[in-house]
């Protein structure tokens, strides 16, 4: 029975969630690009401060300065968390091996010890992030359910992956651990384009879009006035 589920998780479910993740993100980007193009076309003032946008974007993509400015502990933990989160799944030797076997794709892997170190830091920083969210009243109050869920959900594949590469310490059998690992990974892939994790692809455009947001269409105010039937009415 376990083998059946394993096959299912590795095959159809993986392909479904991976395709949904990639295509879903592509869809979001294309919709955003379309919206941005439309907004730019409509904007009354088409001059944008591109250099400022570019600088701010780079600044947030590689937030080296950011840790010093405010909430330094939270920032550093979150940077560590992101590093592990991005590097380990993509550059783990075993994952690359799967891609090589399946699609003939191959790219350099990180050393095993680094991968293990990053896995542990990611798990720890996820726990810290969760605690920080619960601890700080500001973030606790503005958080929705998914904000609490995400760090915990992300721990699962990392922890189970760690146990898969160290079966001797695993509380469950190898296959069961692998099943948990694959299913949780699939679930995360599935959720990426549907939740806030889509920021992984949208963040680079955010500054540009925010700036574009201030560039209203020429006749927007007048059109809204007409639509709401307030044309010519006293204020």
């Amino acid at each position: 029975m376990l083998e059946f589920w394993l096959e299912l998780a590795k095959g159809p479910i993986f392909r479904f969630s991976f395709a949904l993740c990639v295509l879903g993100l592509a869809r979001i980007v294309m919709l955003s690009a379309w919206g941005a193009a439309k907004a730019y076309y409509a904007a009354g003032d088409k001059e944008l401060p591109y250099s400022l946008i570019w600088r701010t974007t780079i600044h947030w993509l590689f937030p080296i300065r950011m840790g010093l400015r405010n909430r330094p502990f939270f920032s550093i933990v979150s940077i560590l968390f992101h590093i592990g989160l991005i590097i380990v799944p993509i550059f783990l030797f075993a994952h690359i091996q799967l891609w090589y076997q399946g699609a003939g794709l191959w790219w350099p892997a990180i050393p095993r010890h680094l991968a293990e170190f990053l896995t542990v830091t990611t798990i720890l920083s996820a726990i810290l992030l969760f605690l920080a969210r619960v601890w700080s009243s500001a973030s606790r109050h503005i958080s929705r359910g998914q904000e609490f869920m995400w760090p915990l959900l992300l721990i699962i594949p990392f922890l189970s992956g760690f146990f898969c590469s160290h079966p001797a310490w695993s509380p469950l059998s190898y296959n069961a651990m692998l099943l948990i690992h694959i299913l949780s990974g699939n679930f995360i892939l599935l959720l990426i384009p549907l939740t806030k994790i889509s920021h992984c692809i949208l963040t680079p455009f955010s500054q540009f879009i925010s700036e574009l947001g201030w560039h209203f269409p020429k006749n927007s105010a007048k059109d809204v006035e007409i639509t709401l039937g307030k044309q010519g009415q006293p204020i």
């Binding site: 919709l31 950011m66 405010n70 909430r71 806030k196 925010s210 105010a221 709401l228």
Partner: protein
């Protein structure tokens, strides 16, 4: 969370409030005195107004983006002076933005429709709208939080949009509406309802003042056709900030600029920025009319943050193609003149410690930051900076139009202005330079209510004190290069 507030400051502020009868007494959380508060069916009308705005503007783009990327990391909280003053989670910028973001998600996205079908989400309620109104008008729209958001969410833009939608269903503070009503529909055509003759009288009076003080004949040109600059000051300057106007006139006289004040429209204030694009559109469209009438080339904006920003940024947006005149701020003009060596400032006049306060609307995007500092350093003996400053400066606490609402004074001075008061106290400055009518009014009240010992002045007030005027031979000689280009 208990707001850590200075009780004395609150009491002082309450004592200074002009019209206590319009304010509902509920601690410091102010219920706005709302223009035309329609009851019932608000949610539906809110959504319809929202939809109408989405249909005809680009707000849908940013909302789509923010719905997907809002991370709720609470980094914005630590940058917001309101949250720092109160510690109330409702003052976290992200909490405020969530009102609009969640409404958008619920009523304008596929995810929302799915969620509603699965969990039976009832949607927007009247209570939420009341909370929303409360929240959006607590914000001063200073946009400091924007700098701290890793996801690039512009909470200031969302506040702007939120107030816009609310205004369309009739929820707007009365003070703003009354002013705008006078400006757009009234006889006097300005927010302070100053009659034109009174304005001309005060200009003549100021001419005499300048002659008295500096011994030079400085004109306030009224309705002069064909001048280079058409001058728009925040209209309150004519009543409260005479020194600023004197300084501006003196500088313009000294550099020999040709300028004029139009009698049909001389008010630079545009409260539309704070609550409605429709109003902003209407007020802005008056400017090119006056420019056309007087055949001037450029628009010169006096010492005012939001007036500068609306004119500079939104004139091109809302005016017809080719009809938007170039906009210059008086600070840019003065700075260029100083650089060109045309101004003579006596460095021995201002000896007290001086600190410069950045108006958010000018500094946030990095437009006017260094120019005033260079001017001040040129003649002030003891010039200091507060931290943070420049782009990351804290708001005075009266931004977003709240300063014109007198019943808000306790809130403004003891919560919104608390951080500013602390900053000022730290510097130990005697003179606080704030080149913005809003900031000046707010800071004066902050100083009063918090018992600080400083004087609030405009940039040109100080310049007026230090400037050495000479009789100009031929004002027309002024080369073009002294005036900063766009």
């Amino acid at each position: 969370m208990i707001p850590l507030l200075d009780q004395d400051a609150i009491l002082r502020a309450k004592a200074n409030t002009k019209k206590p009868e319009t304010m509902e007494e509920q601690g410091l959380r102010v219920r706005y005195h709302v223009e035309n508060p329609l009851k019932g069916g608000r949610a539906q009308r809110f959504l319809e107004a929202f939809a109408a705005i989405l249909k005809h503007s680009s707000y849908g783009l940013i909302l789509e983006q923010y719905v997907r990327t809002s991370l709720k990391c609470a980094r914005c909280a630590v940058s917001c002076m309101l949250y720092e003053a109160t510690g109330d989670p409702k003052d976290v910028p992200c909490y405020r933005s969530a009102f609009l973001i969640e409404t958008y998600r619920r009523h304008f996205t596929l995810a929302g429709s799915l969620k509603a079908k699965l969990f039976g989400d009832p949607g927007l309620t009247d209570e939420t709208i009341e909370e929303m109104a409360d929240s959006f008008y607590n914000c001063t729209a200073c946009r400091k939080c924007v700098l701290e958001c890793p996801a690039g969410i512009d909470h200031g833009l969302l506040t702007h949009l939120g107030r816009y939608i609310l205004s369309e269903i009739g929820i707007t503070p009365r003070a703003l509406v009354v002013s705008v009503r006078e400006q757009v529909q009234g006889k006097t055509r300005n927010t302070s309802a100053i009659p034109i003759p009174a304005m001309i009288d005060s200009c003549e009076f100021l001419e005499e003042e300048i002659e008295e003080a500096k011994g030079a004949k400085v004109k306030f040109p009224i309705d002069q056709e064909g001048a280079e600059h058409l001058f728009f000051a925040p209209v309150s300057d004519y009543m409260m900030e005479a020194d600023t106007l004197c300084g501006i006139a003196a500088v313009l006289h000294q550099i020999g600029a040709s300028w004029t004040i139009g009698t049909k429209n001389f008010d630079g204030i545009n409260y539309g920025l704070f609550y409605s694009d429709i109003i902003m559109d209407r007020v802005l469209n008056e400017i090119p009319k006056e420019v056309k009438r007087l055949k001037t080339k450029k628009v010169l904006i006096g010492e005012c943050g939001h007036a500068s920003r609306t004119a500079k940024v939104f004139l091109k947006t809302f005016c017809e193609e080719g009809e938007s005149p170039p906009v210059v701020s008086i600070i840019e003009l003065t700075h260029a003149a100083l650089k060109a060596g045309k101004l003579k400032l006596d460095p021995n006049v201002v000896t007290d410690r001086v600190v410069y306060h950045d108006p958010c609307n000018m500094a946030r995007k990095g437009w006017i930051i260094d120019q005033p500092r260079e001017i001040l350093r040129a003649f002030c003996k003891d010039y200091v900076e507060m931290t943070p400053n420049g782009r990351e400066n804290y708001c005075c606490g009266g931004g977003g139009g709240t300063v014109s609402i007198d019943e808000l004074r306790p809130y403004r001075t003891s919560i919104a202005g608390k951080k500013k008061a602390e900053q000022l106290q730290e510097t130990g400055a005697k003179l606080v330079v704030a080149p913005c009518a809003n900031c000046k009014k707010q800071l004066r009240e902050v100083v009063d209510d918090n018992g600080l010992d400083c004087e609030i002045v405009g940039l040109h007030d100080l310049i007026f004190r230090a400037i050495i005027l000479q009789e100009n031979d031929s004002p027309e000689k002024t080369p073009e290069s002294t005036i900063p280009n766009e």
